[in-house]
Homo-oligomer: 89 residues x 5
């Protein structure tokens, strides 16, 4: 999984019907110190995440497992809200 920060939201009226009702959050990878890095992706929220929160997200086919609608065409999903990151090295 990846560490990321929710930086926004995408709206799409016309979309695959299995995505209706999903919250599509723009999520960008973060470093251990919380700073943004890499390129943002769109992840389906499954844990009630909001803009500004640090999250754990899953990519690829396993992301679809996290979503309520079982057959949704989803390749990224937020599966946790980060409380803390302990890095000892």
């Amino acid at each position: 999984m990846q560490m990321g920060k929710v930086i926004g939201r995408v709206t799409a009226t016309r979309k695959d019907e299995r995505l209706v009702g999903t919250k599509l959050l723009i999520t960008q990878p973060i470093r251990l110190d919380g700073t943004l890095t890499g390129e943002p992706i769109i992840a389906v929220d499954t844990v009630g995440a909001g803009v500004g929160e640090q999250v754990i997200y899953v990519m690829g086919s396993m992301a679809a497992r996290a979503v309520m609608e079982e057959r949704a065409p989803v390749d990224a999903a937020i599966v946790g809200i980060i409380d803390g990151m302990d890095s000892s090295i």
Copy 2:
């Protein structure tokens, strides 16, 4: 999923028979401000997208779920038309 812009179309007469009838759109990743970035890929359109539109596309095996023909060898599909991107950070 990724944010992208449809920048063109590919035609291929000789192709896997399960791709016959699909619309193959050249889609390039975009940044939050809509500017192009990265490298374009070919995505199967499933929502009636056209050249110039900003779209949401899925990659990997989950893309095949979005396509009508269930057993098509597809690794990228457009699953939504972007209405807007709200970025608050």
Copy 3:
């Protein structure tokens, strides 16, 4: 899927038995103007592609769908010959 150009062929006498009889083509990504970019990969040909042709190839587990031998360990397959790429932007 990706746009690529077939630039060569790999021969391998000793290989997984489910790959016996497959044509293994060295395929490199191309830009919209047809110039080579990125790093070449090995893709199984499923449409009669030849060296020098521009092709559409699928990556990941969906590539295996394109191959005759259903259980072949394949992660890249050529699924179309490109006739043309129209880019209007």
Copy 4:
């Protein structure tokens, strides 16, 4: 699989219920000489790995196979502790 080093741990109270009880380790790719490289990811520990240890980790849908909870939305898992790396070239 990848060679990595466990450099920390992530805590997340709010998460997918199938991740409850998993140990989420921040794992960074390493070179053959053990130095860190690339970007860290979050991997589920399945072999009792600890911070500072060099590990083998699996990415993508195969990572989920390593986890006890069969339907967990997991895309990275630690599946071995490295005893040694012999590089002869």
Copy 5:
């Protein structure tokens, strides 16, 4: 699939039980001229490859198909020994 060269071996006493008995080879991508490039990964050998040999390897979930133990958590496997690469362009 990728073209690579076996450059070493990893030993891991503590590992997922489905990996017991597998040969874990450090494999680095190569260019058409055989020179090393990119970052090495760990691939399960399925064709009797040895250090110094040029090989074809599969990545992602399809790699698991190549391995004897059907449910092994494997995301990279060597599936062929390269005899030759003909590049005509």
